[in-house]
């Protein structure tokens, strides 16, 4: 298992992560080692096994009824945002 520098940069692009040249070099070394390590899973016979969906048998994720349960607290929540104006989150211009 090996990954080129471009492979690593492509994964970083998918993950929306800016990585430095030093990090690219470090990840080009460690990611293939991790992937080689997990490849021992291929030795397990799983042709008749269903992938596990939930740790508890017979229990699945509940759905809640679609009703309003929260009160409006956007001012409080937006105190944690870097750029806010008139109750809106500001981001760099997307549409020219």
């Amino acid at each position: 298992m090996s990954l080129t520098r471009d492979d690593v940069l492509d994964i970083a692009r998918l993950a929306r992560l800016a990585i430095t040249p030093a990090e690219t070099a470090s990840l080009s070394d460690s990611l293939p080692r991790i992937l080689t390590f997990v490849e021992q899973l291929s030795a397990a016979e799983t042709s008749t096994v269903e992938p596990m969906a939930h740790p508890l048998d017979g229990l699945s994720q509940r759905l809640r009824s679609d009703t309003v349960s929260e009160t409006d607290a956007h001012e409080r929540f937006q105190q944690n945002a870097a750029r806010v104006e008139a109750g809106l989150y500001l981001v760099p211009k997307v549409i020219e």
Partner: protein, 485 residues
């Protein structure tokens, strides 16, 4: 006062021997004096703690108050705390003041528990040594040149040093049990779904579970009874009544069947650690347990399974950090993509990035079946192995960690070696089982932990077995040098 358990502090407060304010001030003083060398806390909430303590004293004076009213604890900084900095030990959340309480925090608050502050941890709970924290590593009070384990390393160091009488933790692959083992504490990770994950910052949602690190099984039973239970705000929370775990601690163990996990006694286990675990098994035999050797053939695949499933879930969970709504945001972004990528690149540390990248890769088109689906199938095999074992035995036992606490910096350059610290703990997370670690001896002055694993919702049996062992042994009462007074 600081050598007392939660139960002891509670009794003393109710009997009027000391007030909650006095107890709280005593621990705050100890934090101020001893924490700088340990780095166990990220935030100390002294003012709020004293106000909560005063309220607890008033409640007790007016005849109200339960078993936990007025006792102080610390929360791992992964739990959201209303109006208090909640960082997850990441630069990404170094400016995040939570606008709400996690369910665990709320329930303990309602039980009258006082919060001393927020403990250090591995960044986003990703690590086994507490060395990935943006706030710096935590030191082990048993030897300040060694790690306390992770990811709940700050909680472990704080309780071991008696600067907090108990602390919450979370366990995704061993993050409560391994630090408990490395610091001579009792740590329990309940069944998946037992404790609400609402407000507990997500790492790998199908594995994450909240729990506690305490001085003994009785304290763990007290806290777990108060913090467990159904929560409609967590879609995987289980709607089952919570027993009072303190009422079954004294049940006799006569006739109980204890399985010795064959796969946990192989290569990589230090001989001195193995000897102490085998001594602990003899104690169980004396308590009337029957020991049976049990084999779980797929268990050796736990670590590789985990390092597909956990990074996959982490890459998707951590996509919420976009530099827009909360958390770190980069300076003068030139466009939206630059805002996302630089905020994330500058805000996350090296191990978090590595796991996001691993997860992104195993979930990407063309690799999803080979890695992710394969891992979820092996996870099913491991879960089935446990199910077969629990048809024969009541509990499974083995070591918690392969070695005692290692030196700071010893494993930071090799992720695979670091990942193998969790070789004995990950299985319980993959299968959603309750598991705990209790102290079972010392090697060259460093603690060793015994792991107990039970079937789903067998917390009462685990705590009972741990408590009975602690009636026969005194390992859990030892205090590291320099922290007795």
């Amino acid at each position: 006062m600081h050598t007392l358990t939660l139960a002891g502090l509670s009794t003393g407060i109710k009997a009027g021997r000391f007030s909650s304010v006095e107890v709280t001030q005593h621990f705050l003083d100890r934090i101020e004096r001893l924490n700088p060398a340990l780095n166990a806390f990220i935030t100390v909430t002294a003012e709020q703690a004293l106000a909560q303590a005063a309220a607890a004293d008033r409640a007790i004076a007016s005849g109200k108050g339960g078993p936990l009213t007025g006792v102080p604890i610390a929360h791992k900084d992964i739990f959201c705390t209303d109006g208090v900095l909640t960082t997850c030990a990441s630069k990404m959340l170094s400016n995040f003041v939570s606008p709400y309480d996690a369910t665990v925090v709320r329930k303990l608050k309602e039980a009258g528990v006082v919060m001393l502050g927020k403990t250090n941890m591995d960044e986003f709970a990703m690590g086994s040594s507490n060395e990935t924290s943006w706030y710096g590593p935590v030191k082990n009070p048993w030897d300040l040149t060694r790690v306390p384990g992770g990811s709940s390393g700050g909680s472990a160091a704080a309780v071991a040093a008696r600067i907090a009488p108990a602390a919450t933790g979370t366990d995704t692959g061993g993050s409560i049990r391994q630090p408990a083992a490395l610091t001579a504490l009792t740590g329990i990770k309940p069944t998946y779904g037992r404790v609400s994950r609402y407000g507990m910052i997500a790492y790998a949602s199908s594995l994450d579970q909240g729990g506690v690190l305490t001085l003994n099984a009785e304290d763990a039973a007290l806290l777990l009874t108060a913090m467990s239970g159904f929560d409609e705000r967590d879609s995987t929370s289980v709607d089952l009544a919570v027993p009072d775990y303190t009422t079954t601690l004294n049940q006799p163990l006569k006739g109980i069947k204890v399985g010795i996990l064959k796969e946990f006694f192989g290569q990589g286990l230090e001989a001195s650690t193995e000897a102490l675990v085998r001594d602990a098994l003899k104690v169980y035999e004396q308590l009337g347990a029957t020991l049976v050797e049990v084999s779980l053939p797929n268990l050796p695949l736990s670590v590789p399974t985990y390092y597909v499933v956990a990074p996959a879930e982490c890459s998707s969970n951590l996509s919420r950090f976009d530099g827009v709504r909360f958390g770190y945001s980069c300076d003068s972004p030139k466009d939206l993509l630059d805002l996302y990528t630089r905020s994330r690149g500058e805000g996350f540390g090296a191990e978090v990035k590595r796991r996001i990248m691993t997860g992104t890769y195993v979930l990407s088109a063309g690799y999803y079946d080979a890695y992710y689906i394969k891992a979820q199938k092996v996870r099913q095999l491991i879960s089935d192995d446990f199910k077969r074992a629990f048809a024969q035995v009541d509990l499974l036992v083995g070591p918690t960690a392969p070695t005692t606490a290692f030196e700071l910096g010893a494993k930071v350059d090799d992720p695979i070696t670091m990942y193998l610290n969790d070789i004995y703990t990950i299985g319980a997370n993959l299968a959603g089982l309750p598991a705990m670690s209790i102290p079972c001896g010392f090697v060259a002055g460093l603690p060793v932990g015994l792991q107990l694993i039970g079937p789903h919702f067998a917390e009462a049996k685990l705590l009972n077995a741990a408590h009975q062992y602690q009636q026969q042994t005194e390992w859990h009462t030892r205090i590291p040098d320099g922290y007795q007074s």
